[in-house]
Every structure is written in structure tokens, then in C-alpha cells.
């Protein structure tokens, strides 16, 4: 992923009254990158996104986006950005095609090129058959596609998606992400916020936010690498009992159920997963569980989150 930075933020902060929503964010995003913001609800993802597209003014810090200084040149930036809001924000009383037309007009497409571009966009997002439908009659997944279509009709250099797949079924989410990567491959830079780990993993790089602070920035692989050797996966019946037994152990920083397995993140600096596995098995047998199994496993982004949330200082990869 090489290329000149499309977004550069320095100490970007925003507070609402006393509440600090975004706290000293330093960022650099390269052209063509799919960059994710990961964090629980209220972590400041939406606020950070709005700061980066110039919809909100920062209370401190500065940012350059597509070579334009924010907030001074925010108005000029709009034409280059496709912004898909978290909540569906298109006109329910206009048809799919009319919504696209309106977007094409306000984003300054020439009357000459408009019909072709709209036809292309309808085709690309499989909306051609539904062009005369109103959004009110579309399902959540189709609304999402329409919103993405509208956000891209003017071929923006920067595509900003605020929790685009919230409330959409997993199948549709996969299709949606395929579109996102296609757009990135065509040269668009994509900023996307999510709280789905399986989506964050697909991003080229992610920025993890906790209470407005960027606690880690890097590729998913880089982030999880810091936790290599600290995850043990346990299989035992009944699972509930195993979880109860494992949670009681001081060596386990967090215990989560993953299907039939139990995912254990070990506390930092004590043991490696290989060393800990036999001890965990002994403990489980002592607790009365029969034929438990345990082996070292790969950490995931959830583990990174847990570790960061517990105040661990993971190596912050260069932004």
C-alpha cells in the first residue's frame, strides 16, 4: 500500500461542552487504502468521520484531506467526497432514480454526462430494476446499496462510510464489502467505521478508538501480532462450566465463547500459550470437566481490543 497521503490529521480533537468526543487523533491515510475505524458505540467514530469530511469543526488540531486544509476549505472538499451517513438519509418520497439524479445534480455533474452516469450507477449496484421504487419500499440491504450508489455517483476520490452495514444481514454485508474493495481498486480511498470485527479484519488498516482516543493504528495482522502466543483455545463440555472455571483463573485476562470453543486471552507477561495450555487443562479437570482439550491459537482483533481496554500498552505501529 504505497502512495501519497490523502488524509493527514494532527492532534485532531472535538469536544461537545465538557464531553471530549475525539481526543488528539493523529492519522495518515494513503490513496487507495480501505481504512477502518473500529470501536464500540460512543467511541467517537462518527464524530471523527465528520471532522475528517469537514462537517464538524475541530476544537483543536488540524487536518489536510485531499490536499485541502480543514476546516477552512471544508466547502471545497465536499465535491470530492462521497459520504454515506449512518442513518439512511435519502429522500423516501423520491424514487431510486430521482435520488440519484438529485445527487448527480448537486454534486455538479454536467447535464450531458448525467444520464449515462446514472444508468451506469444503477447497473453497477443492481438497482436498474428498482429505479422507479421509492426507498420506503426497499429492504435494509437495498437501501444500503442505494446509499452507496448515491455516495459514488459523482466518482469521489474519498468515500466515507459511517457504519454502512449496521443492521444488514451477513450475506449482504459480504456483498457490500466486495463493492467497497472494488471501488478502492479503482482508486478511491475508503474510510469506513464499523463495530463488526469480521469487517474490520478486511480493512487494509484500522484505527481502534476507545473513548475518543486512538489506541492502536495498523493493519489487522500488525495489531494481532502483538498478542502472538497469548491465546489458548479450549474445548470442554459443558461449555458454561468451562467458562466459569477459566474466568476464575488469574492468568486469564478474558474468556469468550466462540461457538463450542472457549477463547482465552492470557494475562500479559506470565506465560506463553504453549506453557499455559497444560495448566489450563489441569485446572479444568480439577473443576470436574471431562476430556478437555486446549491448544495455542491466533489472536484476533477482539483480543487486541480487550487487551487495550484493560490498559495494556501494545506497540503502536507507525501511523
Amino acid at each position: 500500500m504505497s502512495g501519497e497521503p490523502v488524509i493527514e490529521a494532527r492532534g485532531l480533537s472535538r469536544s461537545f461542552g465538557r464531553r471530549i468526543a475525539v481526543d488528539r487523533v493523529d492519522l495518515s491515510v494513503r490513496r487507495g487504502e480501505v481504512f477502518g475505524f473500529l470501536g464500540p458505540n460512543g467511541a467517537g467514530k462518527s464524530t471523527l468521520i465528520r471532522l475528517l469530511v469537514g462537517l464538524l469543526k475541530p476544537t483543536a488540531g488540524s487536518a489536510r484531506v485531499l490536499g485541502l486544509a480543514l476546516p477552512a476549505e471544508a466547502e471545497r472538499l465536499r465535491a470530492e467526497v462521497g459520504y454515506m451517513t449512518q442513518r439512511f438519509s435519502l429522500y423516501e418520497d423520491l424514487t431510486v432514480e430521482e435520488n440519484l439524479e438529485f445527487a448527480a445534480e448537486v454534486f455538479g455533474l454536467e447535464a450531458r454526462e448525467r444520464p449515462l452516469r446514472i444508468a451506469e450507477t444503477l447497473e453497477r449496484f443492481d438497482l436498474a430494476e428498482r429505479r422507479d421504487q421509492r426507498p420506503a419500499t426497499l429492504s435494509g440491504g437495498w437501501k444500503q446499496r442505494l446509499a452507496l450508489a448515491v455516495a459514488t455517483v459523482h466518482r469521489p476520490q474519498l468515500l466515507v462510510l459511517d457504519e454502512p452495514t449496521a443492521g444488514v444481514d451477513p450475506d449482504r454485508r459480504r456483498g457490500f464489502w466486495a463493492e467497497i474493495f472494488e471501488l478502492a481498486a479503482e482508486g478511491a480511498t475508503v474510510l469506513v467505521s464499523t463495530h463488526y470485527m469480521d469487517e474490520a479484519v478486511r480493512c487494509h488498516r484500522v484505527c481502534m478508538l476507545i473513548r475518543g482516543r486512538p489506541v492502536a493504528i495498523g493493519s489487522p495482522a500488525e495489531l494481532t501480532a502483538a498478542l502472538d502466543g497469548r491465546v489458548v483455545e479450549v474445548e470442554a463440555e459443558p461449555v458454561e462450566l468451562a467458562i466459569a472455571a477459566l474466568t476464575a483463573l488469574p492468568a486469564a485476562a478474558s474468556v469468550t465463547q466462540l461457538g463450542k470453543r472457549v477463547h482465552v486471552l492470557l494475562a500479559p507477561g506470565v506465560q506463553t500459550a504453549d506453557e499455559a495450555a497444560p495448566e489450563l487443562l489441569d485446572h479444568l479437570r480439577a473443576a470436574g470437566l471431562e476430556r478437555p482439550a486446549a491448544r495455542a491459537a491466533d489472536p484476533n482483533l477482539e483480543d487486541v481490543f480487550v487487551a487495550l481496554g484493560l490498559g495494556e500498552r501494545l506497540v503502536e505501529t507507525a501511523a
Binding site: 462537517l55 445534480e105 455538479g108
Partner: protein, 409 residues
């Protein structure tokens, strides 16, 4: 001119230069707005329905052709001439004689209880006065709790009076002398003879203050525009906030000034459409006069519409949902109706109310439309009013520009 021709001759100039981006975006907003309006049956019904319904409602109230008012006649004279008079009164169809009480007290009681709305008193010496040419006086007592009725009776008797007296004059003129007139038969001296033997006095009861009805229609034009213009612009913007589409709009390159213009423009057209509807309906149903120039009326209306639309923008900037916007619009609408001289005569209002009234666009617009429609005045005769509207527009535009945020939260 030469330079212009030279410019046109330049081959490099495109045949149809594209509109500047801000205008294009404002137009896009306006087009979208119209589309939504047309699609919303309630709103489009509102645009056409409000003028027609209001005009019909007020049209009945201002209709001077009151017919069949229930009337009690007390005929103390009981003479041939008084019976002729009663017959002629009934023939006008304005009065329906439904009671013939014997005493004035009883007639007043009927009036007080609402059994009749008009009492006609013909005094005992009526015939004598008539024949002596002194001017025979007939009293009409009218229940003026309904001022329209009172005005109608007033107008009707005045017309009747004039009609009877004209007939008298014609007889005088036709016979070439006083002797030929029926009213002159017993007159002693010709120089005492009055040409107006009929004299009706109309007393209005319960509400002696009456207004001239023709004032209502031109002002109604303004009332209708106030209702629709302020409310509709305010709603059209607040609706975007409420439905969340504002969040989409702010992400687009649409500048807030373009948004304001694009939101207002369709309503200017709608305002003029409403004026046409009111004028046509008024003309067809109620024969409202249009004495002045329509261009002057259009100019005055343009100023008034502009003033109302910017006020709608201000309202939309300080409210967060449609309910608030509606309430605030009506908060402005009521004083407009009450203090502009539409409901009550402006001159009869207490001073502070007049000062308040002067602040309202409707007051000035009503004066202009009355002048233009009824007196045939021009906009040049109403420069202070035009200036007041312009000032109101400028101030509200300034406030709207300051308050109108293209921002979230």
C-alpha cells in the same frame, strides 16, 4: 451594441453556456422540492384548497346580498302608503316579513330573543309626513351582532331610499312642477318641498362599529399567502432535519445560500399561482373589482411573498421539528390576521396595537392590495408600504442568513 455583436460572433463561445454551479445547485434543490410537493397529495391540496376554501368561507361573510332576513314590521301608520312600502321592502327579497307585532316593545323583544334580525318601525305620522313632503322617516332596527347583516341592511335601505327618491324626482321633472308629485299634494309652499320625501334611518344594535366589507377580499389575498408561504417554507426545511435528509444535504457541495434560494424559489411560483386562484375565484364568484394594474399587484405581491418566505426561513432555523415550526408560524399568523386591519379596522385599534400592526407585512400588503384592486392606485402611490415590505425582507433575510446553519446537531 457593437461589442455585444462582436462577442456573439466569437466562434469559441459555446452555443449554450452551462449555468454557473451555484445556480445549478439551487435549481436542483428547487426541482427536487417541486417533485416532492407534487407527490404529496396533502400539500398540493393545501396549495389549491386553502385559497378556494378561505375565499368561499370569507366570501359568504362578505356577501352583501343578504337575502330573506327575518323581519318584524310594526306599522303604526297602517296607511295605503305604508302598506305599499312594506310590499316594496318584501319585493327586494332582502326582507322577509315574518311577524307583525302590535307594539314596539314586542318587536324589540323579538329582536332581543333572536326571532327576527330586523325590525321596521313605521311611525303613526308616516303618511302625514309623506304627503306633506317633509320626509317620512322609517326606522330599521338591526341586530348587528352579525355586522355583515347590519351592513347589508344599511346598504340595501340606502339603495332602496335612493331608488324611491329617484322615482320621486323623475315624477317632479316629468310633470314640470311640484304639483304633479304625489308627495306634493298637500304641500303649502313649493319652496318647502324637499326632493327627498323618503328618509330611512338605520340604527344598528349591539355592535355599532361597522367596517366596509370590500376591505376583506384584497386583504384575504395576503392572509392566504401568509398561511401558506410562511408555513410551507418553514416546514420544507424542518422536514429535512426531522427526516434526517438534512444530513445528506450537508454532505453535498450545496452552499447554505443556494439551499435557501432553492427552497424558496418554488414557493414564489406557488404564491403567484395562489394569487391567480384567489383573483379568479373572487372575480367569478363575488365580482371583486380589479381596478388597478395587475403588474403593480404582482410587484407588491412579490415583495410580500419574499418577506414571508424569509420569515419562514427564520422560523425553520430556530425550530427542530414540524410541530414547533407549525406552532411558531401560527404564533405569527394570528397577530397578522388580528392586527393588520383584516379583522378590525386599523384606525379603531389602540395605539400600541397599531404600532405592532405596522411591523407586520400583512398590514402593508393589505393596504397596497386595497389601493390597487379597489381604488385603482399604483405601486407609486404606496411607496411607504413597499419600502416597509422591503425592509422587513432585508431584516429577516439578514437574520435567516445568520441563523440558518448547514450543520448538524
Amino acid at each position: 451594441m457593437k461589442a455585444l455583436r462582436a462577442l456573439r460572433a466569437l466562434p469559441s463561445l459555446p452555443a449554450l453556456p452551462a449555468l454557473p454551479a451555484p445556480l445549478r445547485r439551487a435549481l436542483a434543490i428547487a426541482r427536487k422540492e417541486l417533485r416532492q410537493l407534487m407527490r404529496d397529495p396533502l400539500t398540493s391540496g393545501f396549495i389549491v384548497g386553502v385559497p378556494i376554501v378561505q375565499l368561499a368561507l370569507f366570501g359568504y361573510a362578505i356577501n352583501q346580498d343578504i337575502r330573506h332576513a327575518e323581519t318584524a314590521v310594526v306599522d303604526f301608520s297602517n296607511s295605503a302608503i305604508s302598506r305599499t312600502l312594506i310590499g316594496e321592502l318584501e319585493a327586494t327579497q332582502t326582507f322577509d316579513v315574518v311577524a307583525r307585532p302590535a307594539t314596539e316593545d314586542e318587536a324589540r323583544r323579538l329582536l332581543g330573543e333572536g326571532d327576527v334580525s330586523v325590525v321596521v318601525l313605521i311611525p303613526a305620522d308616516f303618511a302625514r309626513h309623506y304627503y306633506r313632503g317633509r320626509g317620512a322617516e322609517v326606522s330599521f332596527l338591526v341586530d348587528a351582532t352579525d355586522p355583515t347583516l347590519a351592513r347589508a341592511v344599511q346598504a340595501s335601505t340606502r339603495g332602496f331610499e335612493a331608488h324611491l327618491n329617484r322615482r320621486g324626482e323623475a315624477l317632479v321633472a316629468g310633470a314640470g312642477g311640484a304639483a304633479a308629485r304625489p308627495g306634493m299634494r298637500y304641500s303649502v309652499r313649493p319652496d318647502l318641498v324637499r326632493v327627498r320625501p323618503w328618509r330611512f334611518s338605520v340604527l344598528t344594535y349591539f355592535n355599532p362599529e361597522l367596517r366596509t366589507p370590500v376591505f376583506v377580499v384584497p386583504a384575504l389575498l395576503g392572509v392566504i399567502l401568509t398561511t401558506t408561504m410562511i408555513l410551507m417554507t418553514a416546514l420544507s426545511i424542518v422536514r429535512e432535519r426531522e427526516r434526517g435528509t438534512f444530513e445528506f444535504l450537508i454532505g453535498t457541495p450545496v452552499h447554505r445560500f443556494e439551499l435557501m434560494v432553492g427552497k424558496i424559489a418554488p414557493y414564489v411560483a406557488i404564491g403567484f399561482a395562489q394569487i391567480l386562484i384567489v383573483l379568479l375565484t373572487g372575480l367569478l364568484l363575488f365580482r371583486v373589482p380589479v381596478r388597478g394594474s395587475l403588474i403593480d399587484l404582482a410587484l407588491a405581491s412579490f415583495l410580500f411573498i419574499a418577506a414571508n418566505l424569509t420569515l419562514g426561513l427564520v422560523i425553520s432555523s430556530v425550530t427542530v421539528n414540524q410541530l414547533q415550526a407549525t406552532q411558531l408560524s401560527f404564533f405569527f399568523f394570528l397577530p397578522s390576521v388580528l392586527l393588520s386591519g383584516f379583522m378590525f379596522p386599523f384606525d379603531a385599534m389602540p395605539r400600541p396595537a397599531q404600532w405592532l400592526g405596522e411591523l407586520l407585512p400583512l398590514t402593508h400588503y393589505a393596504r397596497m392590495t386595497r389601493g390597487i384592486l379597489l381604488r385603482g392606485a399604483g405601486i407609486a402611490d404606496h411607496l411607504p408600504e413597499a419600502a416597509a415590505l422591503l425592509l422587513f425582507f432585508a431584516v429577516t433575510l439578514g437574520v435567516a442568513t445568520r441563523l440558518f446553519r448547514k450543520e448538524i446537531g
